[in-house]
Amino acid sequence: MTEELLRVEHLKKYFPKKVNGKTVISRIVDDVSFTIRAGETLGLVGESGCGKSTVGRTILHLHTPTGGKVFFKGEEVTARNIQRLRPSMQMVFQDPYSSLDPRMTVEDIIGEPLDVHHLYKSRADRREQILELMSYVGLNPDFSGRYPHEFSGGQRQRVGIARALAVHPDFIIADEPVSALDVSIQAQVVNMFEDLQKKLGVAYLFISHDLLVVRHISSRVAIMYLGHIMEIGNVDEVYDHPIHPYTQCLLSALPLPDPDAARARKRIELTGDVPSPLHAPSGCPFRTRCPYADEQCATACPGLTERGNDHAAACWKF
């Protein structure tokens, strides 16, 4: 078995929020735990606002954790050592249009992390590294002097990834990296992520709400709802044998690009809305919408329990 790269233990991120002049606590990430092994991809899925991006940002201390611990290669990540660890842990953002500085050339955008971490011996060395990174991610090195607006969405996403790779990370958090792209371009970028993993052994936390893309790219997947992980495990196990009623519902709603299969399958309808994190229900966060919920579900939060075959779920009923 390959070594464990990242361990997240009971991670919490609460934000204070003013409501009618009073400060209340919004529990955006509440007790999230998982591990990622070197060179593997963990997909993180869940609906808008459930806290996926906040998990990513809190791991990297872009938000100070409210509670819990993160270990990277066995070392606890803290406010003190994060600067030193950051080159090994990079983040790629969703929007290829706003995440790049429009006034900088692509060469300087990719070179910036090299400057920050003093990772070259000479100007020539810097340039050589940048051109190599560009060809790594499938960008024509001749375009190094161009500005972001001269590139398409898919190309800009590649620039963002080249920039993340510049510091030789072992781990990349990719937050919705293909959501803004057309399907034909999405495939190019997904393939590039896979190729880079094969070549460089980087591990990914791949955040997305596209369940098909996540199944394709991930070896393991975590399903998130209202700040909690409801189910986690081997991607085929979770997709083919979902345990948690929320996972079952989510998978049954996924639009299938296969007309006959789409029409034949049965949807599980969800009633009601996602509760606000300010008024999170007691016990299981999903119980207000769960068709199987009873008193037990209201009294205590079911933690993730191992169900065999690298598959765990947080549910009292199943």
């Binding site: 371009i185 299938l256 690009p257």
Partner: protein, 337 residues
């Protein structure tokens, strides 16, 4: 078959500005039948929204219809008076957009906005208009409609707002409902509910629906017919089964191969290159520069639109009878060897 509600014939639209001419649509034709759900797919810039704008005659000042016709129930819309066009927007054809927040007035209650729509399109007033508004909210599956009437848009979730938009579009009992990326901003579970709702009202009211989306999953879920656009031209049109199981245009095949199918984990097959620029369309097939199966003729001549099986049309040289004959002969020769 009865006359289609909407007939688009050889429609071309260009935008003219300082940079020159952008040929957003080049000779697009298709029919929309009563009660049918037509999906329009194609990547960003392929002309999906411009097609809808041309139908509703809401192209901006730089945009112009440069050729072709749009027939609504057999009538040439270009001959209509401005009043008739205005009545068409709403009564003939209503539209819902991707982001309901931009089309709802944040300062007015839901009730006020729906009753206004009812009054505008049906002339009903007061109590009667209110009753109809409540009916519409019930129709789009809003629980507790009387309470909803008093709420403001920001008090509702994205999915509920989209339901309100649909209710308002239905106020006029339109013949055609156009939904441009109606669920892109929504989560999958909510998206599924909205698609279900669109199916349900089509079945109940029998209107024709056009759904614009670049999500092939959504198209496969709900559409009867599918139109594939690329660079302002029709690549292919057919039943949803034709398009997903027997595609006859290389662009359609490429699109289908580039999405994960939820089963195999084989490497995705992206379409190489980047989308065509409609300011510099090539002489031959618009897709030719990205097509792996291109023939010599694709570079120089526009392919004809051919019916490849009943009701299934495609615009690709590889379907040309002469070329297919040639392939067959090649096959025979191979057997002789």
């Amino acid at each position: 078959m009865s006359e289609p509600v909407l007939k688009i014939q050889d429609l071309s639209v260009s935008f003219f500005d300082r940079a020159g001419e952008a040929k957003a649509l080049s000779g697009v034709s298709f029919d929309l039948e009563k009660g049918q759900i037509l999906g329009i797919v194609g990547e960003s810039g392929s002309g999906k929204s411009v097609t809808m704008q041309a139908i509703l005659q809401i192209l901006n000042s730089e945009g112009r219809i440069t050729g072709g016709k749009i027939l609504f129930k057999g009538e040439d819309m270009s001959l209509w008076s401005p009043q008739k066009v205005r009545a068409f927007r709403g009564k003939g054809c209503a539209m819902i957009f991707q982001d309901p927040m931009t089309s709802l007035n944040p300062l007015l209650t839901i009730g006020k906005q729906i009753t206004e729509a009812v009054t505008l399109h049906t002339g009903k007033r007061g109590r009667e208009a209110y009753q109809r508004a409540v009916e519409l909210l019930t129709l789009v599956g809003m629980n507790d409609p009387e309470r909803r009437m008093k709420q403001y848009p920001h008090e509702l979730s994205g999915g509920r707002r989209q339901r309100i938009m649909i209710a308002m579009a239905l106020a006029s009992e339109p013949d055609i409902l156009i939904a441009d990326e109606p669920t892109t901003a929504l989560d999958v579970t909510v998206q599924a509910q909205i698609l279900e709702l669109i199916l349900e009202i089509r079945n109940k009211l029998g209107m024709a629906v056009i759904i614009v989306s670049h999500n092939l999953g959504i198209i496969a879920e709900v559409c009867d017919e599918v139109l594939v656009l690329y660079g302002g031209s029709v690549c292919e049109k057919g039943t949803v089964q034709d398009i997903f199981y027997h595609p006859r245009h290389e662009y359609t095949k490429g699109l289908l191969a580039s999405i994960p199918n939820g089963q195999s984990r084989d490497r995705l097959k992206p379409i190489g290159g980047s989308p065509v620029n409609v300011r510099h369309l090539p002489a031959g097939c618009a897709f030719c520069p990205r097509c792996e199966e291109a023939l010599k003729i694709c570079l120089t001549d526009k392919p004809q639109t051919l019916e490849v099986s009943p009701g299934h049309i495609a615009t690709c040289w590889r379907n040309d009878p002469e070329y297919r004959q040639y392939l067959e002969n090649m096959g025979k020769e191979a057997h002789h060897d």
